[in-house]
């Protein structure tokens, strides 16, 4: 074996070629570096601009952070006593998101497992196309479905006085998250090496044993990422929940209560709040709060993954 002699005698002069390739290499490295760093830059820039809008109210005497976080009284336009408490809004977001995840995670992961292990190639291809189509439906359409179809169904079957409530929003958000969880989860399951599957079946594992003992543990991180993206969509979704949850500022006592979420609140009120006013600034602060919640969710997931790894 002579590796150097193999690519011919007519190669261009060594020096020139390597210099050009060094520059090319450097340019590509720089490009990749820039695109990697840009993600951080964008995040920080977004945080900066939101904070800049929110900052004046944060440091004013008339505003109390404790009230903002822990009061349920949201009266931004009251003539006598303006109060900015977002607890009810956070509770609304939490309630809708949790319900959505309770519904979406089992169906989403189940769908991913079915697609990757239990269905034939032709069915899989058509299902994937349909699921991706489902993910592309605009959220306002989902909201419309919630407002008209789902709301009527809920009133008919539960006897609730209004059909736009936590249940409605949760179902709509679940329907929006499932396609994401399925398609990313299926990718994660597909990434499990075939050799694992082969080894497990050769030892007599049934399909279910294969799924629960090999596939799910091996694809754990990817599946968690899929669920997180679903959660992210549920927390951040605005239009659909605005239309489907009833827009009542209160801490829900059951899934048939109407709520308002942080996002819906921003969307609904930002247009009416005069730019630069206190109300306007508080709405931006609500944006910061949303930002913090998303970060916390991601951080928690990261810690969970690390914890699982450390235990092994």
């Amino acid at each position: 074996m002579a590796p150097n002699s193999s690519n011919g005698a007519v190669a261009p002069p060594r020096q020139a070629r390597s210099r050009r390739s060094v520059w090319g290499e450097r340019a590509i490295e720089l490009l990749i570096y820039a695109s990697g760093v840009s993600a951080i830059v964008f995040i920080l820039a977004i945080l900066f601009f939101i904070l800049r809008e929110a900052a004046p109210v944060l440091f004013s005497d008339r505003f109390s952070l404790t009230q903002f976080l822990f009061s349920t009284e949201w009266y931004p336009t009251s003539a006598s006593n303006v109060r900015y408490g977002t607890l009810a809004l956070s509770a609304g977001t939490l309630a809708v998101t949790v319900l959505a995840m309770v519904l979406a995670v089992p169906f989403g992961l189940g769908g991913a497992v079915f697609l990757s292990q239990f269905c034939g190639p032709r069915l899989r291809e058509s299902l994937k196309i349909i699921i991706e189509l489902l993910a592309a439906i605009p959220s306002v359409v989902w909201g419309f479905i919630g407002l008209t179809v789902m709301s009527r169904l809920i009133v008919t079957y539960t006897g609730a006085p209004v059909g736009v409530n936590v249940l409605n929003g949760g179902i709509i958000l679940a329907l929006m998250s499932v396609p994401i969880i399925v398609s990313i989860g299926e990718d994660a399951l597909k990434a499990v090496p075939d050799s694992y599957i082969e080894a497990a079946t050769a030892m007599g594992a049934t399909r279910w044993q294969l799924v629960f003992r090999v596939l799910l543990p091996a694809a754990r991180n990817g599946l968690l990422a899929a669920v997180l993206l679903g959660v992210g969509r549920a927390i951040g979704e605005t239009m659909a929940v605005l239309m489907a949850t009833g827009h009542a500022v209160q801490i829900p006592h059951g899934i048939l209560d109407s709520v308002r979420t942080l996002t819906a609140n921003i969307a609904a009120e930002l247009g009416e709040a005069p730019a630069g006013s206190e109300h306007y600034q508080v709405l931006f602060l609500t944006g910061v709060l949303l930002f913090a919640i998303t970060m916390l969710v991601n951080l928690a997931a990261d810690l969970i993954i690390r914890g699982v790894r450390a235990r092994k």
């Binding site: 694992y196 007599g204 594992a205």
Partner: protein, 254 residues
């Protein structure tokens, strides 16, 4: 059971991958408690043949099997519990596949799938299998660490321990020594000679020396056909009945 009733009887077995036939109607027997060597150049159908035995061929899209394979007289196409069939056959792949589990869980995987869950039953079984695979002394203090973190040779012995964990009646080794050093290979070969008293072993190997050392009979498979199947001392002698065998064994082609 005597030598007259074969452990495995293969009759007219053909295998095609999406229309291209790779095994062309082969017929042979494996006797109980023998070590049968299968030699032959790459792509001659050795691994595919093993896949037919434990019916993992079923998972390969477009694979068509014709003919008959009987284990202890029972047609494997007709078995009701294919998982139980697979447990009677231990399979060791050429490159080690440590499942992403701990060493202990790797070995306990198959027994657990078969319904054995009590720690008191599993512990001695895991130890015995690891001992048989000549791995116990190296890992006994870290059974809880990840199997995939072992060295290549250790992982291969782990897969051998795993293949023994479901107490198979037949053990198939597909070029098991590719990733192992010669000393360990020798130790495992000793283990195989030991196991031969209880189980039947099929050894696919590219190392003609290994086949000569270890096997009772050897089958020379070439392009999906059996060129010769005979006692190993005949196959590796100066006068096998076929010229191709002599040339392959002596490294003239293949």
């Amino acid at each position: 059971m005597n030598a007259a009733t074969p452990k495995i009887a293969v009759k007219d077995l053909s295998l095609a991958y999406s229309g291209t036939e790779v095994i062309h109607g082969i017929t042979f027997d494996v006797r109980p408690n023998e070590i049968l060597g299968i030699i032959g150049p790459a792509r001659s159908g050795k691994t595919s043949l093993l896949r037919c035995l434990n019916r993992t061929i079923d998972f390969i899209a477009g694979a068509r099997v014709a003919g008959e394979i009987r284990i202890d007289g029972a047609d494997i196409r007709a078995v009701r519990d294919v998982h139980a069939l697979r447990r009677t056959i231990g399979m060791v792949a050429p490159l080690p596949v440590g499942l992403p589990l701990s060493i202990y869980d790797n070995v306990a995987f198959a027994p657990r799938c078969a319904g054995l869950t009590r720690r008191a039953d599993l512990d001695p079984l895991v130890e015995r299998c690891l001992r048989q695979a000549a791995l116990w002394d190296e890992v006994k203090d870290r059974l809880g660490s990840l199997g995939t973190a072992l060295s290549g040779g250790q992982q291969q012995r782990l897969t051998i321990a795993r293949a023994l964990s479901h107490q198979p009646e037949i053990l198939c080794l597909d070029e098991f020594s590719i990733a192992i050093d010669p000393v360990t290979t020798m130790r495992i070969e000793d283990v195989l000679r030991e196991l031969r008293r209880e189980i039947t072993i099929i050894l696919v190997t590219n190392l003609t020396h290994q086949a000569r050392r270890l096997t009772d009979r050897t089958m020379f498979l070439w392009n999906g056909r059996i060129i010769e199947l005979d006692r190993s001392d005949v196959i590796f002698s100066d006068q096998p009945s076929r010229q191709e065998t002599l040339e392959y064994v002596n490294g003239i082609f293949g």
